[in-house]
């Protein structure tokens, strides 16, 4: 008896060794499962042996491998967790040995017709443990010899279940780590920074797409090449000694330099960060190099600088123009107040020319200053209670003379009465001025200009219409951009800086209003200003 036991023992040990060898050989799960069920079948002399695994998609236990069960039946076997014997073993995570028909009936909802009253019954079922939930069951049924399973058999099956559980868990972990690794690799690949790992001999061991393109190479071709082969000697020396220092002192090293790679031909401003890698046992003395392209950052810094230069230039110009304009304006005014007694018509005309052009220059300088404020966001409005209609009347007044001269019919109409509003009267006046300035400029002789105000429940509308040359739809939005002018003979002839509408829009927007060109107005141009009513 003990001899038989001893031989069984060694057989069993052989079986365990066999299975554990299979597991460590790295064979795939299906092969290992299938070989295991056949080994169990032949060694324990059982009729059937199957491994059922939880299918996470359907939530059923399904046959993964079986011996003694025809393959066509496999897909038909679906066991819900908690139901049937296998289902209960899975849920309770405890092995069960079904010893007779009564037990079988007790535990089975629909006992298989296979087992008749007289059937011999000895069916062990063992759970496969996994992390968190039991992922499967080993089901062994009836020895061919019609002997009951001994405790010893059960121990063996338990050990096999343990091994397979371990295998399942490892597989799960492996998949997880594979996943994590892939995600990490994807991330490194998609980084905008160049990442290179370099071994102790300063040879590239890995390099992402960005790094490769910065080096003027492909990731595959960069591998196993010395870093120095990609760049000039001096840079390579600097970087190599930084790598050594980083490893020696276990610290980050950082430098900004212009990297001239051999293949790229041009140099790129770059920040290079060198980090000693911690995975010491496998790859001793490896460093990671992070390359950050600074060209864009430099460009931005340069643009900012230029922008600053531009605005201090604008402010300087405006100051330097204002100072001489002040005595000119003052002197002209004195001349006008006390005109010399004998001015010839020509001299008078000359004086008018000086005056007009001084005004034009002053307007330009004022506009430039406004633009500076708008751009620096220091443009502010001061709201005061304003009679809008009265303000518009006086804004129109200065244009009467020139309209008369050009034989343009200039009319103002106030459709209904507008109560006082909180507005920056000077700024809104400037807007009307700019619009009329354009209207007069772009309307030929004998044309018409109309200014109209009206009030609705919650807004005030100001229209400035002219019968002039009109504005093509394609310029509708652009017209409000700084310095934008439609190229035509009139704007060329009349000059102007293209600032009037830009400033007008800024002023109206500061009042939370809108200014736009009315599409439906076909006889010339109509600007419509909408201002919300304030209380």
């Amino acid at each position: 008896m003990s001899g038989r036991r001893a031989s069984a023992d060694s057989q069993y040990l052989g079986l365990l060794a066999c299975i554990s060898e299979m597991i460590s050989s790295g064979k795939d799960l299906d092969t290992i499962f299938s070989q295991t069920v056949h080994l169990i079948q032949s060694l324990l002399h059982v009729k059937r042996c199957s491994i059922l695994i939880m299918d996470s998609k359907t939530g059923y236990l399904k046959v993964k491998a079986a011996a003694g069960v025809p393959r066509r039946l496999w897909p038909k076997i679906k066991i819900r967790p908690g139901h049937g014997i296998a289902g209960r073993v899975l849920s309770r995570r405890k092995p069960v040995l079904v010893k007779n028909r009564r037990e079988l009936l007790e535990m089975t909802e629909q006992p298989s017709r296979r087992y008749t009253t007289h059937s011999f019954i000895s069916i062990p079922l063992l759970p496969l443990h996994g992390k968190g939930h039991a992922p499967g069951v080993i089901n062994v049924a009836n020895k061919v010899t019609r002997e009951a399973f001994t405790p010893h058999d059960l121990d063996l099956l338990q050990a096999i279940a343990g091994l397979l559980s371990l295998l399942l868990e490892n597989t799960r972990l492996f998949a997880l780590s594979q996943n994590a690794k892939k995600r990490l690799a994807d991330m490194i690949e998609s980084l905008d920074a160049g990442i290179i790992t370099i071994n102790g001999d300063h040879v590239i061991t890995h390099c992402n797409q960005r790094a490769a393109s910065l080096l003027g190479c492909t990731p595959v071709r960069a591998k196993q090449r010395p870093l120095a082969s990609f760049m000039d000697k001096k840079t390579a020396t600097v970087l190599n000694s930084m790598m050594s220092k980083s490893l020696r002192t276990k610290s980050h090293q950082e430098i900004e330099l212009d990297l001239l790679t051999r293949s790229a031909g041009s140099s790129t401003p770059m920040r290079v960060t060198i980090v000693p890698l911690a995975s010491a046992p496998l790859k001793p003395r490896e460093t990671m190099m992070i390359l950050t392209d600074l060209s864009l950052r430099r460009e931005i810094a340069e643009l900012k600088h230029i922008d600053q230069l531009k605005s201090s230039f604008m402010s300087m110009v405006s100051h330097e123009l204002r100072t001489p304009l002040t005595p000119i304006t003052g002197a002209l005014h004195l001349l006008k107040e006390n005109p010399p007694l004998h001015l010839s018509p020509t001299q008078n005309q000359m004086l008018n020319i000086i005056r007009n052009n001084t005004n034009r220059l002053t307007a330009l300088v004022n506009n430039l200053l406004d633009v500076t404020h708008i751009e620096n966001q220091t443009f502010a409005i001061q709201r005061v209670p304003t009679d809008l209609q009265e303000m518009i009347d006086s804004a129109v007044e200065p244009f009467r003379a020139i309209a008369r001269k050009k034989k343009i019919h200039l009319a103002v109409r106030h459709v209904n009465c507008i109560p006082p509003m909180a507005l920056d009267d000077k700024r809104i006046g400037q807007v009307i001025h700019n619009l009329l300035d354009n209207a007069v400029k772009f309307t030929p002789s004998k044309g018409r200009i109309r200014v109209e105000t009206s009030i609705t429940e919650n807004k005030v509308i100001i229209r400035v219409q002219d019968s002039g040359i009109g504005i093509d739809k394609s310029h509708k939005e652009k017209i409000f951009k700084k310095f934008y002018q439609v190229d035509n003979s009139i704007s060329r002839q009349w000059g102007g800086a293209g600032l009037g509408l830009y400033i007008a829009k800024a002023v109206i927007n500061m009042h939370n209003g809108d200014i736009e060109i009315v599409d439906s107005f076909k006889k010339g141009t109509e600007f419509r200003i909408t201002l919300p009513l304030t209380d």
Binding site: S311, S312, S315, M316, S318, H319, R322, T323, P324, L325, T326, P327, I328, T329, G330, A331, H333, L334, E337, N338, T362, V365, L369, T378
Partner: protein, 122 residues
């Protein structure tokens, strides 16, 4: 009622000449100064009724002059109107903060000065 005396502080000779001429034609007495220090001296010597003060002046700028005059109880009552050529550094807020009553942007039509003087001096 005697003539009101205006101190015009600006380093630009042409501006001073024109404004002085204009204000005199409107019946004001006008004295001038040419920089910040000179302005402080002239205020003490001339005791003007109002000061037209340019911001960008040599030695001591207009803001500083204004602050000092406002800090001195002998001069703090004198109304100050600032003249500015709108350089980057100057602004209405800073002028008002320094104690100025009003602020005129260069270039200006001379009647604008007269209007402001009338408003302040009556």
């Amino acid at each position: 009622m005697g003539k009101k005396k205006i101190l015009l502080a600006d380093d630009e000779e042409d501006i001073k000449t024109v404004i002085k001429l204009y204000l005199e034609s409107k019946g004001y007495d006008v004295v001038t100064s040419y920089d910040g220090l000179d302005t402080l001296d002239k205020v003490k010597a001339e005791k003007p009724d109002l000061i037209l003060l340019d911001i960008m002046m040599p030695v001591i700028n207009g803001f500083e002059v204004c602050k000092q005059l406002k800090a001195d109880e002998n001069t703090s009552h004198i109304p100050i109107v600032m003249l500015s050529a709108a350089s980057h550094a100057d602004s209405v807020e800073r002028a008002i903060e320094a104690g100025a009553l009003d602020y005129i942007m260069k270039p200006f039509e001379p009647p604008r000065i007269e209007a402001i003087l009338k408003k302040i001096l009556g």
